[in-house]
Amino acid sequence: MLETLRSLRPFLFFAVGYLALAMFVTNSYYQLIMTLVLVWATFGLSWNMLSGYTGLVSFGHASFFGLGAFATVLAQVHLGISPWIMLPVAAGIGALAGVLIGLPTFRLRGHYFALSMLAYPLTLLYIFQWLGYPEISVPRVEEGAAYYMQFSEGRVYTVLAMILLGIVVLVTRHVERTRFGMSLIAIKQNESAAEAAGINTLAWKLRSIAVSGAIAGAVGSFYAVLILVITPLSVFGMLVSAQALTVAMFGGVASVWGPIIGAAFLIPVAETLHAELGSFLPGIQGVVYGLAIIGLIILAPEGIYWKIRDHLQKRKGKDALPTAVQESAAAEPSAPVTPVERPARELSEEIVLKVQDISKSFGGLKAVQNVSFQVNKGMILGIIGPNGAGKTTLFNLLNGFQMPDGGHVLVNGEDLVRRKPYELCRAGVGRTFQIMRPFKRMSVHDNVKVGAYVHAASEDEAEQITREALELVNLQDISQHIAGSITTKDLRLMELARALAGQPEILLLDETLAGLGSEESQDVVNVIRKLAETGKTIIIIEHTMQAMVQLVDRFLVLDHGELIVEGPPQEVIHNEKVIEAYLGKKWSAHA
């Protein structure tokens, strides 16, 4: 929390400067524009809360905005309730609408989500027209106007809008720095990986749309008071949703500053153009607006904020580069190059995973047929087989990404078949992916921390778990690097650390050695071995046998979805069936 407050210092400077400037503005129309900048910035932050962080683009934020606006005006007209009371109520309405809209709509992804969000404000627009509200105005109050949030001095509204923006910035900042924001960003970058890391993605998305809806509802409520007259079109219209999207995209998605920068630039430009040129060039502001956005999408597709930040970081990066090179040069000699001999190990008698008769078919293709096996605690089990043998399918059945047609998966005696990936993750089954799924814009540290939230009760504990996981895989030195910039080996290790941060009992590794050179793969093998020694049970799929022979305690060989052989490495590699499966009948005769 303290850190959140500290990070707000630039905002406080901005707020003080902006309000100081506002105090010099006497023209009531410019006062209105100064207030509108803050209103749309806040609305942009509302959009950001959902779409910026989760990546689920909403074209329908006008729903929450409009409900807040209409609720506030209708409550004053019919019930005489003050907007001071209705502002938080409107936030509640926005949150509720968010959950109601989110529940059905989160079943969709990508463009389908964006388009279906478009439907809600359009529906509401017609409902309010049909209810007989072609327009409705805030009743003028002469006695005790302040109680109804009515002020003849326009600058009061600017101050109020700044307070509202400040609260929303605070909320956003807090969300960004806790597991809430981390989970959302993880969802945005890779929803499957997020599930595998133990994140209940639907629950977090619903929380996000509720907070986003609440902010939009409150902004809509304030907007109605400010603008006096609202129509269904002016609060539920396409342009309102677009406004949120435009200011956020222009300024920078998924940052507190983006919508503020966007609104501060676009709103005055549009208003001035309309005021100065609108009477003889009607619609000119739309043209200029459009051109600005086209130019921006070409030059800075993620928004001004990120463009500037990336630019600054690149300059900083250039200065920092030499030391990084030195470090890696210094580290090289100590890296082990020769393969370490596999020491014989005593295995525990305890069975942690028991798979019984598990099967999965895709139409006529039997990908996995009646496979049964069991795994002792602390064992490294290798699942091998030629391409198409059913290895990955078996894996996905074990960790919940696919549902088996029949059979059981018992973890410590509990049947976990048909559970969601994040539930399995919580039950102690972690995994990595064959095709790596890093959260590219996040640092290595944050990538791992996302996994740590599964069992961590507090931020401090998550931090502690993250550090330990990074140390286990030897990534502590590059923990602050952005995941998009590190080597394949480090990415593999990072994924391993993320899975470890979930503190699994059983770790499923999907072709963790794929694409690595022999030295690199030896590093990874060493890490895996170290993990097994600490008592973790590891199941690893691999396509090639070489590195595996030195690593695993037992092999499980699949071919055409069937378990053909199971046993210790030396036994398995000389087995005829295995040689036949890999090399064909001709070779098995020579074996």
Binding site: N27, S28, Y29, Y30, Q31, L32, Q129, G132, P134, E135, S137, V138, P139, R140, S152, I227, L228, V229, I230, T231, L233, S234, E271, H274, A275, G278, S279, P282, G283
Partner: protein, 409 residues
């Protein structure tokens, strides 16, 4: 080097400008009195730009005539000066425009506007808070039901218009066809004025004149397809059709569809959308022949000279409410300024509230004074009819240019 030059030029220009300001001020002190600013806040762009332009013509003619008659004599013959503000074509643009008008023109003493009742409602929410008196030709009842002090409605309110018009229409039908119509269908858009009229009709007025409502169709302008609307009217087989469009293109679309589907119901319109000259761009005059419309104001007997000037100066074939009412507003402002004898919006507002009676010259019926609500006292309406390709005034009789005929084949 270049920037230094720019600075130098800029600096010189500033200095010259600064020096010139006192001169300009003294020049006015010695010569003609400074003009008094009146605002016209009306749609000059978008869907409703056309009626807004006609209002501008009326305002310009009014200002020309007031100034030619010596300006405001109480203020040393100060002339009126028109300030145009585009209210755009949506309620939110109108609100914004009003805020801009109030902020940018602190010297305005009054304004007139804003065609559509919905815009006027929005604009006056802003002007009332700035104490700026506004005359309006919009006639939704809501405009003068909010307890505002500075809004003055020169037209009879929509409810009042319906009350006046319906009995006249029924009598006309009986007089010319021998029987009174018994059923009516209504097609209306959902703008404030239309809704006010329809509400009043359904609130007892139809019953009073013995009409049964058999179908009611409400749409939001602009309409894209009128087929289903017209189909439903056709199946309800009414004796009469009341038609309340606000946008010209909506009026055209519906009338064309009626012709296409051969719906021959005598049509009575409310409002001027079906009597704008543009209607003839897309419709044959025969199609319109006989269509009646109840309008708040129209060029009438005795204004032939004005109508002729409008035709010559602006090419307008006839004088609609937008031109004549806005023209009259300039004279009302002159009267108020003479009474107030001050360039002060609050004094002008006070003067408008207390204007001496006397028959209204540029509005049908009643006087030039306003009641406590801000409605013109005794305001009546005009009924117009398309006859030989021109909408002419047929009621009230003393102002009528031609005689009404019942619209039958």
């Amino acid at each position: 080097m270049k920037s230094f030059k720019t600075l130098l030029v800029g600096g010189t220009a500033l200095a010259v400008a600064a020096a010139a300001v006192p001169f300009a001020a003294t020049a006015q002190d010695n010569g003609d009195p400074e003009p008094v600013q009146i605002g016209l806040i009306a749609p000059l762009s978008g869907n409703y730009a056309r009626p807004g332009e006609v209002m501008l013509m009326g305002a310009e003619m009014g200002i020309e005539d007031v100034n030619a008659a010596g300006g405001i004599s109480c203020l040393d013959g100060a002339p009126l000066e028109l300030v145009e503000i585009d209210s755009g074509d949506t309620v939110e643009k109108a609100t914004n425009a009003a805020k801009r008008m109030v902020a940018d023109y602190p010297d305005l003493v009054g304004a007139t506007g804003s065609y559509l009742s919905s815009f006027t409602l929005a604009v006056t929410e802003v002007t009332e808070r700035a104490n700026l008196p506004v005359l309006t030709l919009s006639y939704s009842d809501l405009i003068t039901e909010r307890g505002f002090d500075n809004v003055f409605q020169t037209a009879a309110s929509a409810g009042a218009q319906a009350e006046i018009a319906l009995p006249i229409i029924m009598d006309l039908a009986e007089d010319q066809t021998g029987e009174r119509p018994e059923t009516v269908a209504i097609i209306t858009d959902d703008t404030a004025a239309s809704i006010s009229s329809v509400d009043r009709m359904k609130d007892g007025l139809l019953e009073d004149v013995g009409l049964e409502l058999v179908s009611e169709e409400i749409f939001t302008p602009p309409l894209t397809d009128a087929t289903s609307l017209v189909q439903r009217i056709r199946t309800s087989e009414p004796d009469l059709l009341f038609f309340l469009p606000t946008v010209i293109s909506d009026a055209n679309l519906i009338l064309e569809k009626m012709q296409e589907f051969r719906v021959d119901v005598p049509t009575i319109s409310f409002g001027i959308a079906i009597a704008e000259p543009e209607v003839l761009n897309t419709m044959e005059p025969e199609l319109l022949e006989g269509v009646l419309s109840a309008v708040a104001n129209w060029g009438v007997k005795g204004q032939e000279e004005l109508i002729e000037r409008l035709r010559e100066e602006y090419g307008e074939p006839w004088m609609t409410q937008n031109a004549i009412s806005t023209y009259g507003d300039m004279w009302l402002f002159k009267d108020a300024l003479e009474d107030a004898c001050a360039r002060d919006r609050e004094a002008v507002g006070e003067a408008l509230r207390n204007l001496e009676g006397g028959p209204a010259e540029y509005y049908p019926g009643g006087t030039r004074s306003f009641d406590e609500q801000g409605r013109r006292e005794g305001a009546s309406l005009t009924i117009i009819q398309w006859q030989d390709g021109v909408p002419v005034t047929v009621f009230p009789e003393d102002l009528a240019i031609s005689e009404a005929k019942w619209p039958t084949d």
